[in-house]
C-alpha cells in the first residue's frame, strides 16, 4: 500500500503550480470574468506547450498517453488558481468523449489539433427539462438523407462562444430507461443555424444557451453508434465528475491555506485568533473535510486507471466533495470575518466557483441515488 503520488506526478504538479502561480493570479481570474472571451491566446498557447491538452491523449494521436490520475494532479492545480478558459470543456469533455465514442478517423482528425492547442471543444447536453438525464432529452437529430439535422435548445453549454466544435447529445430514436435513442454528434461551431446567448451565472464562468436551428451534420460526424450515445457519454460524465472533484480539492486547499495563514497573523483580544479554540475547530473541520475530498477523489481516479469498476466511487467522490467543499468555503468565510465577504478578497471567487462545481455533472442527490442503486443491487458495501 502506498498512498502518495509518484515522482513524475509530483513533477507535473510542481511545473503546473509554477506556471499557474505566475500566469493565473487572482487578478487575472477577475479580469477574465469581465472579459468576453474569458481567456487569453497567450495563456492557452503556454498550456499547450506544456502538453496539458494532450496529457491523457494516446501517443498515437500525438498526446502523452498518461493516466487519469496524472490529469487529476493537473486539474487540482488548475482548481487551486481557478484557471479560467475552456481547458475542462476541451480536454475533459471533448477529449474523453472522442476517446470513448470516436472512431479512428475521428480521433485522427480531432485529437492532434486538440493536443496542439489548435482546437477548442465542448459538450451540449443539458436542456430546460433535462439535467444529466438522457430520458428527457428532446433536442432532436432527424435523418436528412445520409446526414442529420439538429433542432432544439441546449442550456449550460460551457465555452460555446469559443468552441470550434460542439458535441451535441440529441435524440434520434425513442427513449427508454437506460437512455436509449440518444446519439452524439460533432457539430461545427461555425455551422449555419447555431446561435448562442451567454448565461449570467453566479461565477461569471462562460456558460451558454445554444440554439440549434436546422443545423446540418454530415454522417461522418456521428460519434459512436446511432441511438447508443448514452453509454459512452455516461462514462465521460463519471470521469468529468471526478475531474471536477479534483478542481474542488485544489480550490479547497487554497482556501484552507489562506485561512490558516490568516489566523496566524490576525489578532483580536490581545492574541492571535488561531489560538482560539473555536477558530481551531473550524480550521480542523476544514482540514478533515478537505482530506476526505482529496483521498476519495484520488481513489476514484486510481480505480479508473487500474481498470476497476469505479462508477460507485466516482459518485461517492462527487457527493462528498459537493458538500464538503461547501463547508470548507463557508468556514473559511466564517474565520475571515468581514474582509472575506468583500469582493476584493479572493474568497468570494472560490465561493462562486464552488457553487458552479457543485452543480456540475451531478449534485449531491443525483450521485446519492447512483450510490443507492449500486449498493442495493449488490446488497453489500
Amino acid at each position: 500500500m502506498d498512498i502518495k503520488f509518484s515522482e513524475e506526478q509530483e513533477m507535473i504538479r510542481h511545473s503546473a503550480r509554477g506556471f499557474l502561480t505566475k500566469n493565473c493570479p487572482s487578478s487575472f481570474v477577475r479580469e477574465m470574468v469581465q472579459d468576453e472571451k474569458g481567456f487569453t491566446a497567450e495563456l492557452w498557447k503556454g498550456m499547450a506547450e506544456l502538453g496539458w491538452m494532450g496529457l491523457i491523449i494516446p501517443e498515437e494521436n500525438e498526446g502523452s498517453g498518461l493516466g487519469f490520475l496524472d490529469l487529476i494532479v493537473l486539474l487540482e492545480e488548475m482548481g487551486r488558481t481557478l484557471l479560467p478558459g475552456p481547458f475542462f470543456s476541451t480536454a475533459v469533455l471533448g477529449g474523453f468523449t472522442l476517446l470513448e465514442a470516436g472512431n479512428e478517423a475521428q480521433k485522427k482528425k480531432f485529437l492532434p489539433p486538440m493536443v496542439r492547442g489548435d482546437l477548442i471543444m465542448t459538450l451540449a447536453l443539458n436542456e430546460a427539462e433535462s439535467l444529466y438525464d438522457p430520458g428527457s432529452i428532446t433536442v432532436a437529430a432527424k435523418k436528412d438523407g445520409e446526414n442529420y439535422v439538429i433542432q432544439g435548445t441546449k442550456l449550460f453549454v460551457p465555452d460555446a462562444h469559443v468552441a470550434d466544435w460542439i458535441i451535441c447529445a440529441a435524440r434520434t430514436g425513442p427513449g427508454g430507461d437506460s437512455g436509449e435513442g440518444i446519439s452524439l454528434f460533432l457539430v461545427d461551431g461555425r455551422a449555419p443555424g447555431i446561435s448562442r446567448k451567454p448565461l449570467n451565472t453566479i461565477a461569471g464562468d462562460k456558460q451558454f444557451e445554444v440554439v440549434f436551428n436546422q443545423v446540418g451534420v454530415p454522417k461522418e460526424n456521428l460519434l459512436g453508434a446511432l441511438h447508443q450515445g448514452w453509454p459512452p457519454l455516461k462514462k465521460v460524465l463519471q470521469k468529468a465528475a471526478v475531474a471536477k472533484c479534483a478542481e474542488m480539492v485544489g480550490g479547497g486547499q487554497q482556501v484552507l491555506e489562506l485561512t490558516a495563514a490568516y489566523v496566524k497573523e490576525r489578532e483580536q483580544f490581545g492574541q492571535l485568533i488561531g489560538s482560539f479554540q473555536a477558530i481551531q475547530h473550524h480550521c480542523a473541520n476544514m482540514l478533515v473535510d478537505l482530506d476526505g475530498c482529496r483521498w476519495v477523489t484520488y481513489k476514484a481516479a486510481w480505480m479508473l486507471d487500474q481498470g476497476l469498476p469505479f462508477e460507485t466511487e466516482a459518485s461517492i467522490a462527487k457527493a462528498w466533495c459537493n458538500e464538503a467543499y461547501r463547508r470548507v468555503v463557508a468556514l473559511g468565510h466564517q474565520v475571515f470575518g468581514g474582509i472575506g465577504y468583500m469582493e476584493e478578497h479572493d474568497l468570494p471567487l472560490y465561493f462562486r466557483r464552488a457553487r458552479v462545481a457543485e452543480a456540475a455533472f451531478g449534485d449531491v442527490d443525483y450521485h446519492r441515488e447512483i450510490v443507492a442503486e449500486q449498493v442495493l443491487s449488490h446488497g453489500v458495501f
Binding site: 500500500m1 502506498d2 498512498i3 502518495k4 503520488f5 509518484s6 506526478q9 490520475l69 484552507l256 490558516a260 489566523v263 496566524k264 492574541q271 492571535l272 488561531g274 489560538s275 479554540q277 477558530i279 481551531q280 475547530h281 480550521c283 480542523a284 473541520n285 482540514l287 478533515v288 482530506d291 476526505g292 483521498w295 476519495v296 484520488y298 481513489k299 486510481w302 480505480m303 466511487e313 461517492i316 457527493a319 462528498w320 442527490d365 450521485h367 446519492r368 441515488e369 447512483i370 450510490v371 443507492a372 442503486e373 449498493v375 442495493l376 446488497g379 453489500v380 458495501f381
Partner: protein, 390 residues
C-alpha cells in the same frame, strides 16, 4: 498510488489465514462477549490464548521476548481482519500501550516478566489513567505514589477504568512528584490488579458495558514495578503512539452493521413500500455509504503514513471521523427503522437483534473516550495546520 492494503502473495495468504481462523472460531457467544464485555468470559480468554499460540499477538515484536518479528503490515492485516469479522482485538492495552512502553523503557527484568506472557495472550492489562479530576487533562490526576523502602505506597481513586474487572494488571499512572513541573510529576506502574488495598466498584454505562471505579487504599507496589524512570510517566504516556494503531480500524468496524442495515432495507416493507424503493431511505443510506467510504480512504491514508513511519495528525482524524460517523449511522438507522429501532435484543419484534438500539446507546461515548472530539480538533489544528497554542 496504490490503495490496496495487501500487495504480495505472502500478505494475501496471511490475510486468508486470519480470515479462515476467525470464520471457524468466532461464534455467537464469543461475538457477544466481544461486543459487550470485551473479553470478560472464559470463552473469550481461551480464544485469546489460541491467537497467542498462533504467534499473532507478537507480530512485529522482538523474538527475544517471544515475538515473531516481521513487519508492521502483518499486524495491520491482522487488526483489519479482526475488525471485519467483528472480533475484539485481544489484549489491546497490553499490546498497544503497556507492552510497547515496557519494551522501549522498561527494565530487562520487567521485559522478561511481561512481554512473553502478553505475546502468548495470557495476561490482560487494564488502563489506569482517568480520575474524577483528570479526564482530558490527565496531568490533573491526584492519585499519589509515595516511596517507602522497597515499595511505592499508592493512594487514590481512578474512574472509568474499563478493563479492571477482568484484567490481571493495572497499567497505572500516579503522581510521584506532585509539587514538581506538570510534565515531570507522574510515574507509570504495573500493578497486580488483585493486590490488597484495591477495591474495584462497577459502573454501568448507557451503552451497557461495565466500567469501574478503582480505589487504592495504602496499596504497596514493589519498586521493581515502576516502569522506566520515576517522574517520566507523562513522557511515556504521550509516547504510546502505538495506541493510535487501534484507532485506525474504526471504519471497518462499521461495515458489518452497515451491510446488515442494507439487507434490512432490501427486505422490509413500511407504509406500503419496500424501504429499498423509498427515495428518502435510499438517500439516507447512500449518504452513510458515502461517508463510510470517505472514512475508509482517510483510514487507508493514515495507515499508509503509519507504514512509512510518518504518521502525525492523521490518526486523530480517523478516530474523530469514525466516531462521529458511527453516531450518524446509528441515528440514521434509527430513522430508517422507525419504532422498531427502539427495540432491545430480547424484545418481541426486534429487528437486527437489537443492534441499532444498543449501538445508539454505546456510540455516545465514542466521541468522548480515547480522546474527545474537541481535544482531537485542537490537536488537528495545531499539528496539521501549525496553529498556535497562544
Amino acid at each position: 498510488m496504490n490503495f490496496n492494503l495487501t500487495t504480495t502473495p505472502e500478505e494475501e495468504a496471511f490475510r486468508r489465514e486470519v480470515s479462515d481462523f476467525l470464520k471457524a472460531e468466532l461464534n455467537e457467544e464469543l461475538r457477544r462477549q466481544h461486543a459487550l464485555d470485551k473479553g470478560l468470559g472464559p470463552e473469550a480468554r481461551a480464544f485469546n490464548r489460541k491467537i497467542g499460540q498462533k504467534g499473532w499477538l507478537g507480530l512485529g515484536w522482538p523474538e527475544e521476548y517471544g515475538g515473531s518479528g516481521g513487519s508492521l503490515i502483518y499486524e495491520v492485516i491482522l487488526i483489519q481482519e479482526f475488525a471485519r469479522h467483528e472480533a475484539h482485538i485481544p489484549n489491546e492495552i497490553a499490546r498497544y500501550m503497556a507492552g510497547p512502553t515496557i519494551l522501549h523503557f522498561g527494565s530487562e527484568e520487567m521485559k522478561k516478566e511481561f512481554l512473553p506472557k502478553i505475546v502468548a495472550g495470557e495476561i490482560e492489562f487494564g488502563l489506569g489513567y482517568t480520575e474524577p479530576p483528570a479526564g482530558s487533562d490527565l496531568v490533573a490526576m491526584q492519585m499519589r505514589a509515595v516511596e517507602e523502602g522497597d515499595y511505592f505506597v499508592i493512594d487514590g481513586q481512578k474512574t472509568f477504568n474499563t478493563e479492571s474487572h477482568y484484567a490481571d494488571y493495572h497499567w497505572l499512572a500516579a503522581k510521584t512528584n506532585p509539587k514538581g513541573p506538570r510534565h515531570e510529576s507522574i510515574s507509570l506502574f504495573v500493578v497486580d490488579q488483585r493486590a490488597p488495598g484495591i477495591d474495584i466498584r462497577p459502573l454501568e454505562t448507557l451503552g451497557g458495558e461495565r466500567t469501574n471505579e478503582v480505589y487504592y487504599d495504602n496499596v504497596k507496589v514493589p519498586k521493581s514495578r515502576l516502569v522506566g524512570e520515576k517522574n517520566k510517566g507523562f513522557f511515556y504516556m504521550v509516547n504510546a503512539l502505538n495506541y493510535e494503531r487501534l484507532a485506525l480500524f474504526q471504519m471497518e468496524r462499521l461495515f458489518p452493521t452497515l451491510n446488515r442495515l442494507i439487507q434490512y432495507i432490501k427486505e422490509t416493507r413500511r407504509n406500503g413500500v419496500l424501504l429499498a424503493d423509498d427515495p428518502v431511505v435510499r438517500n439516507k443510506l447512500a449518504q452513510l455509504v458515502v461517508e463510510a467510504e470517505v472514512g475508509k480512504c482517510l483510514e487507508y491514508k493514515a495507515l499508509s503514513m503509519l507504514l512509512d513511519g510518518r504518521i502525525d495528525y492523521e490518526a486523530g482524524v480517523v478516530k474523530l471521523f469514525g466516531s462521529e460517523l458511527r453516531q450518524r449511522l446509528c441515528y440514521k438507522a434509527m430513522e430508517i427503522l422507525g419504532q422498531f429501532g427502539l427495540l432491545e435484543e430480547d424484545s418481541p419484534w426486534v429487528p437486527l437483534k437489537g443492534e441499532i438500539a444498543r449501538l445508539c446507546r454505546a456510540s455516545v461515548v465514542d466521541t468522548i473516550g480515547g480522546g474527545t472530539s474537541e481535544i482531537i480538533r485542537n490537536i488537528t489544528a495545531m499539528r496539521g495546520l501549525r496553529l498556535p497554542r497562544k
